[in-house]
Amino acid sequence: MSLGTEATTGHRFALVDVNNFYVSCERVFDPRLADRPVVVLSNNDGCVVARSAEAKELGIKTGTPWFQLAPEAERMNLVARSSNYELYGDMSARVMEVIGRFGAWQEVYSIDESFLGLPAAAEPAFAATARAVREAVRRLVGVPVCVGVAPSKTLAKFANHIAKHNGHLDGVCSLGSLPAADLERLAARLPVTEVWGVGARTGEKLAGQGIQSVADLAAADPARIRKKFSVNLQRTVLELRGTACIAPIDERADAHQIMFSRSFSTPVDTVAAMADVMTVYAQAAASRLSARGLQTAVVTAFAGTSRFAAGEASNPSVSVPLPEPTDDPIAIVRAAVAGLEARLVPGVRYVRAGVVLSGLTRAGAARQGEFDLFGTPDDDGAPAAGRDAQAAANLGSLLGDVKARFGQASIGLGAGGVQVPADWSMKRQYSSPKYTTEWKDLPVAKA
């Protein structure tokens, strides 16, 4: 049994992803970064989260702390940038829209990768579409993408990997157009951990069963794999053989929570300041929730001290079940603030915090007001409370609309609406301007 042989006709999956996405975004507006080693740093300029090809060639690894690289940066001609999430978010939206124009359907998988459905066609048409996607994103948005096309998502990921690592393919690989001998050679050579969804631990366990390469896994008995491992890995085997059986991300069981968490540039050591943090984070999580059309049943709030700090360690976490599933930012903020407040140890310096929304369900189920959001309901109970819930829903979407038009800091609940970022907000010493989202930060063209 070799790769993808069970499907030679029918529709295809394309996996399109941007090469070194964060670095590529920076390069669009700063030509001096071309051909130079560039790294992008995590929150608070902590460690490397993205590398240009040149930085990879220097042997710089993802996760390397910046303080280790900084003294050598000049000698290496290395440039660092802080994460510019506003820029990456805007560029991602542009890239995804361009990609979507080429498919029958689209599933945005992460900030820089998307699956695309290609209707049934003759094999050369798949590669032609893939090349057209790559050319369009390069020309319209300015960033390079790689495209892998195959009969299943897992194989599309594999094809994308081949496109990325074989220069002569020019960033595009439709599995069906590769000579069968080449494909077999690649599948026999690549370790099984290169397969989408197969981690290091599963890889070790597979090796114990004599399954080392991608080809070995494709040839494994699916029923046996299910028994020894999991139904997910069985699906992976079927996908490698060309049978598409991985559901879209929204329908999968692992899309079960929404998290918004950050580290602070300066520690937070008062209850009032932590209430501000929770207000901001809970709103951010709530807006992700409503953007996905979901409601939450449980709000979890947590905070933590630094692992490296000398003083007292404190990692409070509290889960607040809501009376009813909701996407109302006010209810979510209240739960997060009140929940965590009681658990904080006064005087302890917290360096990170977050809000997790879980027990997610689709919004749209009838609201029955139990929230008591705007005071006591009228005597007739349910209808008035229902009206309050409706008012809260309207307020929630208004907050979202205003933010969309005027920016994240334009309006909010409590401290979430502050104009000047509080001093615990992220340190971004090497940030490029917000070229595409701030009028004062527009890229400059010299005349």
């Binding site: 507006f29 030509p31 001096r32 071309a34 542009r94 890239v95 829209e97 361009v98 020309r139 319209l140 948005v141 300015g142 070229y435 595409t436 527009l442 890229p443 400059v444 063209a445 010299k446 005349a447």
Partner: protein, 136 residues
Amino acid sequence: MTESIDGAESAGVLRPRPATGFASPAGDYYDGGIDLNRHLIPDRTSTFVMRVSGHSMAGAGAADGDELIVERARAPRDGNVVVAVLDGELVVRRLRIEAAGPVLQTEPLPPSPPVRTRVDGELDVWGVVTRSLHRL
């Protein structure tokens, strides 16, 4: 016809009666104001805004501090004002495509003379400038 309507029947439109007061007579015609995005940004994936720094393109209508609408979707042609990559910088210039190759040309206000830069090798045009937003 037992449904209550607000008199728009003759126009072929049935509308539920408003809860209170009179409908604005302009309501049927109001369809939102002029949306500059619609007119200035033909494709939101490939249209960018940049700001001019310097005086060498004032003669072309791109003065110091003006905002430019830059479209990446357009193929650059002879005579276009373009944003190009020159010596690691984004520059605004008039593009001339000549027999000997592309030329980037400044266009200052008279009496300053234009400066022509012949590009050796491949010219990297970032986008075509379609509008200048000039503050009066």
